[in-house]
């Protein structure tokens, strides 16, 4: 069978193995997690093979080396995201933990009755349920930003809902359901004018857009390593130092203390204050590998190719009878995350049928139930692309989609 040449696939063991097969897996669920390049896996293995010791806890060389690796990775992350001098990077388990840290250590202590948290209705549950908890415990109120026709957030909507009561704005830079790129830079500016603090969830943005935290100027920024070609188990929290200094720790224990008396303790400075316990050093080393991999590529070229693929996907999906795109139907202000429905067939059944053709996409509410209620659909199918995908895979997807309705006794051709 013919293979479209994609220069990146050989960097990934999973695709290298798949591409030997009669019918390779078309992995189109990259918003859930990306595949890992050799560089990531080797970096993790190398850490355990030759540098494994508990960082911060030994005066011997090996522990010093582990500590150095931790700090070098932190510096690399800072460089990767152009973190300003007055900001710091904290390692967490993932975006979910970063957001919970903010809800507990910032939300619970800085918000009170009468205050408002402004957030889009489309947020991932990890940037929604923690704030529901904060609202319940502090008496502050959640105010939702609704989406417009293009499944985006208009600045009018933001201006209309921002008020002097708004103390916190929290939003994704890119929606994991619709792929919409929200105008975060403008929203940050508007929020700051009102004196509100802004959290940006960059989980779906960082794999597909160049992110410059200095320029964007959020107060906090979070993402997960495993969606950025890194291993599972490591995430990032960026925060401005003055805010991080005011906040109380999230987890208490070893590595985050200075002096421990019998009945009290003083805490280590940021970032250690927020990194209690032994860190996931294998994953941190792997993340460093992933960032190295990405920095060695021409990222603009990756982004350009992803945009081309995304436009091709939209174009081709529109040609499949009985497929309805959900949300933004154009290629504007979006990445290659595309939700859709097949008329009369539940998304879960669509996924099962595509699976038979070795095509992996996601079905469900994608951890965004309020958004699905808002869009008035119970669940959607979602394709999400990465630079290792090909047009051939998109063609296979569309061919397979044409056959879906037949299983349920419906015609697959256009009825009009």
């Amino acid at each position: 069978m013919s293979r479209v040449v994609n220069p990146y696939r050989k960097d990934f063991p999973l695709f290298q193995a798949e591409d030997q097969k009669e019918l390779a897996l078309a992995y189109l669920d990259n918003a859930a997690t990306t595949q890992k390049p050799y560089v990531t896996l080797l970096a993790e293995q190398l850490y355990y093979e030759s540098k494994n010791a508990n960082p911060h806890r030994g005066a011997y060389d090996l522990s010093v080396e582990a500590t150095m690796l931790l700090e070098e990775t932190r510096d690399m992350v800072k460089h990767f995201f152009t973190v300003p001098k007055e900001g710091e990077i904290i390692f967490t388990k993932g975006a979910t933990e970063s957001l919970n840290l903010l809800a507990y250590s910032y939300g619970l202590t800085h918000l009170k009755q009468g205050d408002e948290i402004l957030l889009p209705i489309s947020e991932h549950h990890s940037n929604l349920v923690p704030w529901q908890m904060v609202a319940k415990q502090t008496g502050c109120k959640l105010v939702y930003l609704n989406l417009n026709e293009e499944a985006n957030i208009s600045l009018e909507e933001v201006k209309g809902k921002l008020s002097n009561k708004t103390k916190l704005v929290t939003l994704a830079q890119v929606s994991n359901v619709t792929g919409s790129i929200y105008p975060v830079a403008e929203i940050i500016r508007l929020a700051h004018e009102k004196g509100a603090i802004v959290i940006v969830d960059g989980t779906q943005a960082v794999p597909h857009l160049q992110v410059d935290i200095t320029e964007l100027n959020p107060d906090f920024y979070v993402c997960s390593g495993h969606k950025l070609y890194g291993p599972m188990g490591v995430g990032i929290l960026y925060g401005k130092m003055d805010l991080l200094n005011q906040m109380s720790p999230f987890l208490y224990g070893g590595d985050m203390i200075e002096y421990v008396e019998d009945f009290s303790a003083t805490y280590a400075p940021v970032p250690q204050k927020f990194e209690a316990g032994t860190q996931n050093m294998g994953s941190i080393a792997g993340l460093r590998g992933a960032l190295t991999y990405l920095e060695e590529k021409n990222r603009n070229q990756l982004f350009q190719y992803e945009e081309e693929l995304s436009n091709y996907l939209l174009e081709q999906l529109k040609k499949v009878p009985h497929v309805q795109l959900v949300g933004n139907k154009t290629g504007n202000n979006r990445i290659g995350v595309v939700p859709f429905l097949v008329e009369d067939v539940h998304p879960h059944d669509v996924v099962t049928i595509l699976n038979q053709d070795r095509i992996a996409i996601r079905a469900g509410h994608h951890c965004a139930q309020p958004l699905h209620r808002h869009l008035d659909v119970l669940a959607t199918c979602r394709v999400s692309l990465s630079f290792y995908n090909t047009k051939e895979e998109i063609d296979r997807l569309c061919e397979s989609l044409k056959g879906v309705r037949r299983w349920f006794g419906y015609g697959s051709e256009r009825t009009i």
Binding site: H346, H348, N355, W407
Partner: protein, 143 residues
């Protein structure tokens, strides 16, 4: 398990059947069952009188497997006592888990036997048992 076995005639027939899809006038118990991973959402209504299930309604929306399983369940439990319904529910779950495989023992599940091999498709097991778990919860509420 291939798609032909999964989407068998009997499963497709039950998934499209509308017999139990009308809200009850006087439900005595209501319970919602959701399958968070794929978005199945079933709303079960029962009218129970003197420990007997007089009427059943399956509302909400799910995939073909969850809807077919719910349809089969509704047909099986309508008119049964609460105890009989619990026994059927245990049997259905045991069949899915492959703890009971003898055809003779499974006879009382009637059309439900169509789901016997669903465990060969692990991603769909939750869909097949959703309505039954929803029923168990509903019966516990009632008790």
């Amino acid at each position: 398990m291939d798609l032909k076995e999964l989407y068998s005639d009997i499963i497709l027939e039950y998934s499209q059947d509308k017999t139990y899809r009308k809200p009850l006038m006087r439900p005595t118990v209501r319970n919602r069952g959701v399958n968070p991973s794929c978005g199945d959402n079933i709303e079960l209504e029962l009218q129970i009188e003197d420990h007997r299930i007089k009427e059943v309604a399956i509302l909400g929306k799910g995939c073909a497997i969850s809807e077919a399983s719910a349809g089969v369940m509704a047909e099986l439990i309508q008119g049964k006592t609460v105890e009989e319904a619990r026994t059927l529910s245990d049997l259905f779950v045991s069949m899915i888990q492959k703890k009971v495989t003898e055809e003779q023992q499974l006879k009382s599940l009637e059309a439900g036997i169509a789901f016997q091999n669903i465990s060969n498709m692990p991603a769909r097991v939750k869909c097949a048992v959703l309505s039954w778990h929803t029923l168990e919860e509903a019966l516990n509420q009632e008790a």
